[in-house]
Symmetry: C2
């Protein structure tokens, strides 16, 4: 690599440079570009960019590192997201990334950017959520940076986890005929977001209005306070089975299926009728007159785990109530959703959502 | 600890809550408050909040974790900070925190928030700086998160490092009569910032003007592209000496002296005449008609190391050109700067600067 030239330019007009729009590249294109130029110098670095967490050799086990940033106005709207829930979610979403490597989280750091709009009481609320998540996942808050922000709340969380070397699970690794499974249920967090956004608009139009969220506590809760599925990781260890590949569902099922497909070089057939969807989620899709397929495939923020298992583990999988088989792995590279009608539709790229929204 | 109550409130008026201003507490007060409520669940967590990096037991060695956030308009001004330098500095400042524990950095993650103001070419510049720092410090970029930002560039970097257990150095640990030392020179980065800010104002007043930075390449370079002093860490290891305490100088010498004092329960006497200051720094203080004492004590962003050594190591310290003895540790808790005139002035709290600026 050519050594970078550090002159002392002044008043660089970044708008005047030759420009290619980031949107031409896309989020995943940008990540691939960053990854392709990255050099590895340390032999302890096992896996860098490109999985749910980085993998570092720590002798007897692997250390896992995952990090996420949450920006006000992009990732959350404080008019309906309580700060306590936000703090909890910021931890849980990183816990989910560690779980997706078949690991357990141990420590977190939290960087926070604050404007003077936030009082000490507001920050206490945020940290109450962070502490509650730390207690639930037995994770230690070990550091962070506090800073002024000129523009709303900024949260950046890094989680450090561990996994025994024999249990590490990557996005790659699926084999033909493996069983595709998912934890919990899908689509709820997205419908929770739709409901909260709808009620916000109603409230802005008429501030006397009370939000109509009765009967939707589960979907709203799933949006505001999701859980990382460390419970499932513990159960897999007790039952002594290891997935052949795994990813967490943060950008919708379609996006994650395509990641598993790209990393394994194989295809996935998914059966809509097997995908677990809560009644509240279905009720909400009815209310909005959208197909549950959309909520499941493109919704995102479920923070459930998508994983593949060898057929040999099928009997054990059936004994785990939180895991549902939803499809299988095929030797060709076609990714297909089989609708309840029997119709087969290709699973196509979504992604970009975080950057576009 | 009482379990957090997660209801589903709606349209929380955070401005309507009882409010205590964050400025009443101060940055260090806020950090102390967060730390005091933190529980530790993992026996691998050796040190959490309150030092330059968190310390995690990894069996044969300690893992170190440090994290920092840089926000546009708070920590940097893109009208005169080139993106390449910014990327380099974001890595170097975290490397400095790892060095301050007597450790060496191994991996980093970089979270980045971008608005559509930034082109791909601009992002490439930023990452060229990040890659250059990675090469210089032999650090692997292993992960990160890319996101839209509604409000300027956001950078959040986490560094993972290692230190042999016998070499770990904390902010605590100084003993009476230990020698206080500093690496490199102080005050340059602050004067570089003053110069860049002055030239920016001149430029805004008259855009025909060329910036007058001749003769100030060192101080401007120290502001725009500081280095973490891993070179000194390597030299300490070669010479087989371990500081009794250490901190990096990011908020000015006064603030760091007070940290060492608070953590050891001892006092520090510092001699202004022994503090290394570059001629360019002195020239700049002349230009601005300010005392070099101000640049050194309150300036910040030097990213040099402040450390204490046992008297027994004095001969070895003298052989290391990058380390200068500047004072000694006293059994009382008074922190005093002895001016060149012989006058003694108390060293008082600064801090808060990052949040106030």
């Amino acid at each position: 690599m050519k050594k970078a030239d550090f002159g002392l330019p002044f008043f660089v007009d970044i708008c005047g440079m030759e420009r290619t729009e980031l949107s031409d590249l896309g989020e995943f294109g940008l990540i691939d570009r960053i990854k392709s130029k990255t050099q590895i110098y340390q032999n302890t670095t096992i896996t860098g960019i490109g999985d749910d967490a980085a993998v570092i050799d720590s002798g007897d086990y692997y250390t896992l590192v995952s990090t996420d940033m949450l920006l006000e106005g992009v990732h959350f709207d404080l008019s309906y997201v309580p700060l306590k829930h936000l703090g909890y979610k910021a931890v849980a979403s990183n816990v989910s990334d560690i779980a997706a490597m078949n690991g357990l989280p141990k420590q977190i750091t939290v960087n926070i950017g604050l404007s003077n709009r936030f009082s000490l009481e507001a920050i206490d609320e945020l940290y109450e959520g962070i502490y509650a998540a730390c207690e639930n996942y037995q994770v230690d808050l070990v550091g962070g940076d506090t800073s002024t922000s000129r523009s709303g709340l900024v949260l950046s969380v890094t989680a450090i986890g561990e996994v025994p070397k024999g249990l590490i699970t990557y996005r790659k690794g699926a084999q033909p005929n493996d069983i595709l499974c998912v934890t919990g249920d899908l689509g709820a967090a997205y419908m929770g977001l739709m409901l909260l956004e709808r009620e916000k608009q109603e409230f802005l139009a008429n501030q006397e209005m009370q939000p109509k969220l009765e009967g939707f506590d589960y979907v709203v809760g799933k949006q505001l306070k999701p859980e990382g599925r460390t419970d499932v990781i513990h159960e897999l260890r007790e039952k002594k089975i290891v997935p052949t590949s795994m990813i967490d569902i943060s950008d919708g099922l379609a996006s994650e299926i395509l990641h598993l497909s790209q990393n394994s070089g194989l295809g996935f057939s998914v059966f809509m009728e097997n995908i677990p969807i809560e009644n509240q989620t279905l009720n909400a899709t009815n209310d909005f007159n959208i197909s549950p397929v959309v909520a499941v495939l493109n919704g995102g923020e479920d923070y459930e785990l998508l994983m593949t298992f060898s057929q040999a583990d099928f009997e054990i999988i059936k004994s785990i109530s939180e895991i549902s088989p939803i499809g299988f792995v095929t030797a060709d590279k076609n990714n297909i959703l089989v609708l309840n009608s029997g119709e087969k539709v290709p699973i196509t790229a979504q992604g970009w959502q975080h950057l576009k929204d």
